[in-house]
């Protein structure tokens, strides 16, 4: 006789923002095995990038792979193509790009924390964090002209300059946000349902993290030192005060702490970028067609994002390979689910901050 009970979760569920279907094989309360079906949002972007669009347009198409980290997608693609075109950008462009990526990280991490607190039963905290997040959305709108899909990065530069008023707005909103994040810190470390309850739940050990090649906050919470900002030299991250953040334990609590600390650090970096913005043009001249093969890596809010671009001297690229953070994180997620209680499944899932649109492309 079969000992396990199958419980499906998804593809549409209140604790899921996006369609993913799990099939938990449970023995009493404990999850023994998990099947995940991640292909619900597969659209076929990779194929379209290499056949329907010219290389100048692809940057705006790949932004539509994921709305939460749209800017890192266009940045990853643009970096790879710039390597093929042998364009080097000046410091101002690099700073402006970093600025947008860090702002994106702030709002994405806040969304994740909001979701975590909602799954812990804190409806009011969810609303509060979402409200505070609007401060960052305002900044993004003022800087780029759109709240979510800001097509800010173009090949060889950025599409808008940072005006004096916008810079003032950035600093003002960050000053408003700072005490709120401190308060969140307090909540997530001292409130029983958000902190102690989550100690030791959904834990990933350091060995497992190495074995499953985990990335981003998931790996850093387990103590694995990996961050693309540290591993590439495309951007002067050290100049703006970047330091790697790691925690121990690898449980939900540690992941929340990593996110909170990264939030604070990103805010500090944004401030440094705005204050130390170098002079220069915001667009470099580009010419020619991409030829050869290049890999670019960017740290998205959920971990490492990789673009591999191969061109053959025509305007249509030969291959665009997108490797997204959640895509490589799924084996580790399945591993974490095994052995934990079924009742914790939504909370564990929210703490991964999975992005299915990225995964399935």
């Amino acid at each position: 006789m079969k000992k396990t009970v199958e419980i499906p979760l998804g593809s549409q569920h209140i604790s899921l923002l996006e369609p993913i279907r799990f099939r938990f094989h449970c023995e009493n309360e404990v999850i023994r095995d998990v099947d995940a079906d991640v292909g619900f949002v597969h659209r076929g972007v990779e194929e379209a990038c290499a056949s329907r669009f010219e290389f100048k347009q692809v940057g705006y198409v790949v932004a539509r792979v994921c709305g939460l980290c749209a800017i890192t997608h266009s940045l990853g693609y643009t970096l790879a193509v710039e390597k093929l075109l042998h364009v080097s950008t000046n410091e101002r462009i690099k700073y402006l790009r970093m600025l947008m990526v860090e702002l994106d990280r702030i709002h994405s991490h806040m969304l994740c924390l909001a979701h975590t607190s909602e799954n812990a039963g804190f409806e009011a905290l969810f609303m509060q964090i979402m409200n505070d997040r609007e401060l960052i959305m305002d900044v993004q709108e003022a800087l780029s002209g759109n709240r979510v899909q800001f097509d800010y990065i173009s090949i060889g530069g950025v599409n808008r300059d940072l005006s004096v008023e916008a810079a003032a707005l950035v600093l003002r909103n960050l000053a408003l946000l700072e005490p709120k994040i401190d308060e969140l810190f307090e909540r997530f470390t001292n409130n029983w349902s958000l902190s102690l309850k989550y100690r030791g739940i959904g834990a990933l050990s350091l060995e497992q993290a190495y074995m499953y090649n985990t990335l981003g906050p998931l790996a850093r919470a387990a103590g694995l030192v990996t961050d693309v900002r540290l591993e590439t030299d495309d951007f002067p991250y050290a100049q703006v005060g970047f330091e790697i953040i790691t925690e121990r334990g690898g449980d939900i609590y540690a992941r929340n702490l990593v996110r909170l600390r990264e939030l604070k650090q990103s805010m500090q970096m944004v401030r440094n970028i705005v204050e130390g913005l170098p002079e220069g043009a915001i667009q470099e001249k580009t010419k020619g067609k991409p030829e050869g093969e290049a890999i670019a890596r960017v740290e998205a809010p959920r971990g490492e994002l990789m673009y591999l671009v191969r061109g053959n001297k025509t305007s249509i690229l030969e291959r665009v390979r997108i490797k997204t953070p959640t895509f490589s994180g799924i084996p580790a997620m399945i591993e974490i689910f095994k052995g934990s209680n079924f009742a914790d499944a939504p909370a564990i899932l929210a703490s991964f901050d999975p992005c299915m649109s990225c995964t399935a492309k």
Partner: protein, 115 residues
Amino acid sequence: MNKIDVSLENVVETIKAFYDPAAHHFLTLNALRAPEDQIELEWIFTRYGVIEEPTVFTLTCKRDVLIPSVTSFIPSAIMSERETVDMFGVSIEGAKRGLYLDDDSLQMPLGRCRV
């Protein structure tokens, strides 16, 4: 990037000898169509925490051979392998079809000739 050519016979051994779980990070398995109905596969690795160009193992082979799998020592490779199977219509040891594509979808969208 540092490219290392491997052949169908020694691909698993070469990668296994190179890969150190505590230092190397398996990025992804990439595939490309090559002329004469061949396929080019690239296993891409980077290192944790240091600035280094990615290391790429490349293999060019016929489309209809069985490609060995690296999941025995890199469990997270299963996702990229299943994706490659879906997108290019190749067969890789132990990788099932149907990660992304349904029965009535266009099969092996990246493996066919472009019009």
